[in-house]
Structure formats: C-alpha cells, structure tokens
C-alpha cells in the first residue's frame, strides 16, 4: 500500500519553448488544436539525410526572455533552457528578490546537452590547432553545462543536478526533483529537460534508421519512425506547505512516480514499463481506474511504441480499454531529453482545461492494439489525474502521475 509521504510536492509554475510555441499557454492550446510543429529543417544542411523535417524552434529569439545580457558564452541548448526557466520563474512568483533569500534548485534532464558544442570544439582543435579551440566552448562541453549556466544566469544556489536517461531524461529529472523535495533536501526545484536539434545527433539518428519517411503518427499501423524535435520545458516543483505559505497558485500535484529498467536491450521494455506504471500507481496510492488519461512517450517508432503501449496496458489491466490516451510527439517530434517535461507541460493543460490532445492523422492502429481509446482528434476528458510515461532507447522506463492542484 501507499507509503505515507509527509511532504507533498506541487507544481507552482511552468515554462516551455519548442517548435510549436514559445509559451506554456500557446503550447497547450496548439496541442489541443492538433497543430504540428514539424517543418523542413533550416538550422543545418540536411541533404541526403532522410525526411528533413523536424520540430525546430524557429524563429528563436532568446532575448525575448533574456534581455540584453551577453549570450555569447551560452550555447543553443542552454539558451532554450534559460528561456524556459525564465518563464517558469516568472509564472511561479520566484522573483529575483525572493531567490536572494531562499535557495532554488535545478534538476535538468538532457540526452546530449550540446554534442554540437563538443564536436565543434574538437574539430577546431584537430583542423586548426588547440589555440583555436575556445576554453569557453570547453566549459560548455560538459553534459551539466546547461544546468550550470542556468544556475549562474538565474541565481539558483540550491541543489543542481543533471540526469541523462535518453528519451526519458526529462521525466526522470522531474521524479528526481520530486524525491529531493519529499526527502527534505530541497523546498523549491526547477525541473524538466532541454535538448537542441543539431547536425551531429540528426545524422546519427538518420544512420540508425530511426527517422521516419513520413510525419510521425504514434501507434498508427503505418508508422515508420520518429522525427526529431528540440526545446526546453521546466516545471517549478515545490513543497506543498511552502507553496501555500507564500500564497502560490498550485497548477498540479505530483502524486507519485515509478521507474524500472530493461536489462535485455529491447525485448523487456514492455515489462519494464509495466513495472514503472505499477510502481507509480502504488507510490500515488491509486488504483488503475483512478487514472483519467495517459500521455505516452510514443514517437512513431515501430517497436518502441508497441512495447510502451503493451507495458502501460498490462499495468492498467481492464482500465486500459477505456482510458483516453495521447502521444504529443506526433506534433512536437522526439525532443529527446526535453520530451518528458514537454509532456508534463501538456498534461498541466489537460488538467486545467479538461481537454486531451489527439494524435493527428491517426487512422488505424495495429491489430489487437491494447490502448484502444486513442483518437486523432483532441477531446474532452474529466481529467483529475493523468499518467505520463517515457521510455528511453537505453532501457529507462519512467512513469509519473500528476493530479489537479
């Protein structure tokens, strides 16, 4: 049964920037309207690299949030994070004055941070010599660079960590932050994910055969792969009493979470996802029937989508036939480390508006598909509690339950 958790964790703010929108409200509305952020890539040359469409953030004007300060030492991944974090801090009322007196932490999920920065640093060294490889770029070559830059930029003195779990990074970061608050190690933590689109990762995913020829339609029988995306999404997680004490508006509560790993290298990921969801329900003290909607991490990959659905359905039992299910990567692409946090931002919209985004262009699922309540169109759902799932190519499966605040 449920472990009695003394400290509750609530969401008091959010920020998001991705291909579809550069604010939380616009993103939630766009997803509910079924709009796609996928378009031809302009950030780098994609000649010969497959479908050439991705969820690129364009135009990206970081000064909208970051003002006139010198952005040169900060690369694209960090700029995306800084923008989303600024939105989240503004929305939650964690003003610069308040941050002088109270420590705010940051737990960031990312798969690459910036492999583009690392690779360029190395290429300059090899091609031109070490004196052309900038120490500023080296500072950004570490995988915790974006989180470190955000701490400096936004004066976040508290716990600061970076989590890498592939496509599940953002969701694992949220659960890590929630546990830091539950365990009494932090009171307020920015948590989420950030990832940039770049030539290096695009080429690699293309060569791995992971990019589909068509626009991705998760769970559709015709799916043939993902599209890459990028962006950043940050939630402000806060200890419930502290949030109430400062009169903060509560957007949602973190009811529970669970994680499991697939050590088989693929086949076992359905079982790992099943365990992650079961553990999340147990952690939240909920029965499957009490989940009103599911936001999956499905991205259009043939095997990965199938296994994630199987795992979720196994954990939800008979409720799997009825619970409304969505997959927002149909519109955002696979934003890797940012994805789980973007799903969480979308879920905040569903909890508030009672509308679950659809999976645009979904026509026909696989035979015997175990989560039949999927829909191409967005639809009203009385969502008090929403389950968010993510699985990474490395074997990481994670599940998080958000409830109405």
């Amino acid at each position: 049964m449920r472990r009695r958790v003394l400290r509750r964790v609530v969401v008091t703010g959010a920020g998001a920037i991705c291909s579809l929108a550069d604010s939380v409200e616009d993103l939630q509305a766009a997803l509910q309207e079924g709009r796609s952020g996928l378009k031809p890539v302009e950030l780098f040359a994609t000649n010969g690299l497959g479908p050439q469409q991705a969820g690129e953030v364009r135009p990206f004007e970081p000064r909208t949030w970051l003002g006139d300060r010198n952005l040169r030492p900060v690369d694209r991944t960090a700029r995306l994070l800084l923008a989303a974090a600024q939105q989240a801090l503004d929305a939650s009322g964690w003003t610069p004055e308040r941050r002088k007196d109270f420590e705010v932490g940051l737990v960031l999920g990312t798969m690459y941070c910036s492999i583009h920065t690392i690779s360029e640093f190395d290429r300059r060294n090899v091609q031109l010599g070490p004196s052309y490889a900038s120490p500023f770029d080296f500072a950004n070559s570490v995988i915790n660079a974006a989180a470190g830059q955000a701490a400096i930029w936004h004066h976040l003195w508290g716990v600061n960590s970076t989590i890498a779990a592939g496509e599940a990074s953002g969701l694992v970061a949220l659960t890590t932050a929630a546990d830091l608050i539950r365990g009494g190690r932090a009171t307020a933590v920015l948590a989420g994910g950030a990832e940039e689109l770049c030539h290096e990762s695009y080429l690699a995913f293309h060569r791995a055969g992971r990019l589909g020829a068509q626009r991705p339609v998760p769970f559709d029988a015709r799916r043939d792969g993902m599209a890459l995306g990028e962006g950043a999404a940050i939630l402000v997680l806060e200890e419930a009493d502290a949030a109430a004490g400062r009169g903060a508006a509560v957007l949602a509560e973190v009811l529970g979470h669970g994680a499991a790993f697939d050590p088989t290298g693929g086949e076992g990921s359905a079982r790992a996802m099943e365990r992650a969801v079961r553990l999340a329900l147990e952690d939240a003290g909920l029965r499957p029937e009490e989940i009103d909607a599911v936001s999956t991490g499905a991205n259009g990959s043939i095997e990965e989508d199938r296994r994630e659905a199987l795992g979720i359905a196994a954990a939800l039992g008979g409720h799997a036939a009825a619970v409304p299910v969505t997959a927002v990567k149909s519109m955002l692409g696979e934003a890797l480390g940012a994805s789980g946090a973007l799903q969480a931002v979308a879920a905040l919209g569903t909890l508030r508006d009672g509308v679950l985004p659809g999976i645009p262009d979904l026509e026909c699922t696989d035979e015997g598909f175990p989560l039949p309540a999927v829909s191409a169109q967005s639809r009203p759902v009385a969502a008090r509690r929403i389950l968010i799932t993510a699985s990474g190519g490395g074997g990481h499966c994670c599940a998080l339950v958000l409830g109405q605040g």
Partner: protein, 407 residues
Amino acid sequence: MNHRIVVTGLGLVTPIGAGRERVWEGLLAGRCGFSTVESFDTSRHPAHVGAEIKGFQPEPYVRKQDPAKLGRASRLAVAAARMAMEDAGLDPDALDPDRAGVAMGTTSGEPLEVERFDDLLLAGGEGEIGPELATVYPCHTIASHVAREMGTAGPNAMIPTACAAGNYAVAWAYDAIRAGRADLMLAGGADAFSRITYTGFSRLGAIAPDVCRPFDRNRKGMIPGEGAGVLVLERLDRALARGARIYAEVAGYGLSCDAHHMTASHPEGDGPARAMERALADAGLRPEDVSYVSAHGTGTPTNDKLETLAVCRVFGPSPRVPISSVKSMIGHTMGAASAIEAAVCSLAIHTGRIPPTANFLEPDPECALDCVPNEARELAVEVAMNNAYAFGGNNASVLFRRCEAVA
C-alpha cells in the same frame, strides 16, 4: 523508509592498476600512474603527460555483451562493477533484478565516439559515419551497459555532473535505497581518456608538465586521467543477514551549486562550504567528528587554494583533520574521481590507514592543511568526508562512517 545503507563491495580500475587490493596497496605506497600520453598526439600542447590506463582488456568483465559494441568508459565501468560485485561476494544472477539498480556519473560519456565522428567528417567521409553518436556516445549508455551486464531492472540513472559526478551518483543511489525503491545499488563513475578533455584542460592552462602536486607551493596543475570506480551499496539489515563484509556506512551527503562561474571556483569557497555543511547536518555530525577528508585536490593553483579556504570555513582556521588527494597518484579521473575517492574513504575506515598526497615538496601558506605528505598514515578513521567539485559549480560532499552495528 530511512534504511541505513552500507558499502559492501568495491571495484576500481585506475591508472595504477585494477582491483581493490592492488589499487589500495598502490595508493598507500604512493605509486603514481603518470606517463607520456600515447593515445593521441600532444605535440601541439604545452603538456604531454597523462594518467592513461594501459593494456586494459574488457573481455574478462564484459561477458553478456559484445565488448566491441561498448565505448571505453562503459567497458571500464562494467569492469569496475563486476569487480565490486565479486568483492561483495554477490552473484549477479542471484540478485532480485527488480530490487537492484545502477547510478553512475561521468564527465564526458563516450567522447572517443565524437572524436571518430569528427575525424571522419573532416576527412570528407560523412558517408562512412554510422549511428554511433545515437547508439554508443550518449552518456546514459554507461549506466545501461552496467545494468545489462548485471541484469538489474531497478532504478537506473546516469548523472553527468562532470568532476563531482561519482559523488552525485552515490547520493542518488543512497536516496533510492532510503526511499525504499531498491535494496541494492551499484553506484560509481567512469570516464575515458580523450583528446577533447585533454585539449580543454590544456587550453585552460590547467595541466601540470610532469607530476601532480596538490597543496604544494609549486604545484603546476592537474593531470587528466581515466578510470572507473563502483561501490555496492546495500541496506544494512540485508548486508548483515547475508554476513557481508561491511567497509563503511554512508552517513549522509550534501549538494550545492556555486551559481558563480562555469569553470572557476567561487572566490570564497561558498558552494563547497555549503555542501560540506549540508552533508554534516544530514548525517547529524559535527566537523570535529570527521577523522579524514578526501580532497577534491586537483593540484591546480586555484583549486587547492580555494578548497583550503572552504575547508577552513567549515573546520576552522587551522584545521587539524588530515586531508589528502589521491589525484596526486592517479591523476584526475574526471567523473570516476569521486567514486574512486568514495572507495578510498570506505577503505580508510575499514583498514585504519589513510593514503598520502604524493609528490609533496614544499608547504604552501595558502594551503595550510595537514595533507598527509608523501607517507600513508595509520589512523582510526571513524568518519570520512569525500569532497568533489565540478564545472558548472556542482559541489557534492558525501560522508562515510564506521558501521557501528558490526564494529
């Protein structure tokens, strides 16, 4: 909830050898692992010395996966993990997979894959580039490879918080067991020697020309290295029930962030001091309870001076607690460093001996510490503090203490 957690197994792969016994004996003897860099050309750098692991063969350790498909950091990590399990007297196949997990730290993931990518791209061979930056390079593969090798299906995290990552991983694993999410965790760190890392530290002017001399007046810098360290952490009650050898108990930890500069430490040692204070508060200990401190101690002029400042903020103006840096012998093994140093703390408690700071010649008034110069020392270590600091201002202190239940 709030289980006590102990260290029951140690696996180490370092520039002075592999395996708990060999590494510990080497550290106590002051053995150094520095030599001229062989894995790439350093002729355009002012420094040419590194702490590489020579002749490492992954085959004895990587048994369930094809070693050729693992990056070098993963191979080192899997080797350390297997050694740690054997040291703990545990058979991976006999574990409850759902109750066992992995937390690993790293600075760079698998940077050799980026170097291969760049070499191909610069040679005009884009067509020959494979999927490795998606399948081998991403740092989470290190924790994944360890878990696949050991068959663990419980909590799994890769924590790339640079040069403090090993401590972050130990802390994450500690919390996972305390919260009841696992009974046993393999926790540690791994990094591979790379041209990227070497170039970066070279460009920062941070690499010593010959040897690493932490806290010495004439110290010239750090020596980049590589390695892996893994600790088996398990619930005390379970360790006792199976009659395990217990090296030490994890007493608590503290994290902080400088929020000051990406590569330079806070000028007043603010972040490191807060991490130490938080660790002490978490463990319910006072500074005077600490018998030994394993320093971050990179050997750069700035780090050692500011680390001394931070230690003095916590332990008083002339601290008596001995503080040594094994980086003087094995170099800076990056994300592995604080994991290896966590093993050092555990062994100091277990064996009653503390390793020296090697290559020490002349005291520095700005580093007025007892750095255990050149000679290992016998000392009844009740509590050991492991300090680690990283790019991004990520600071982590982990405390270990003698496990009273079996003392």
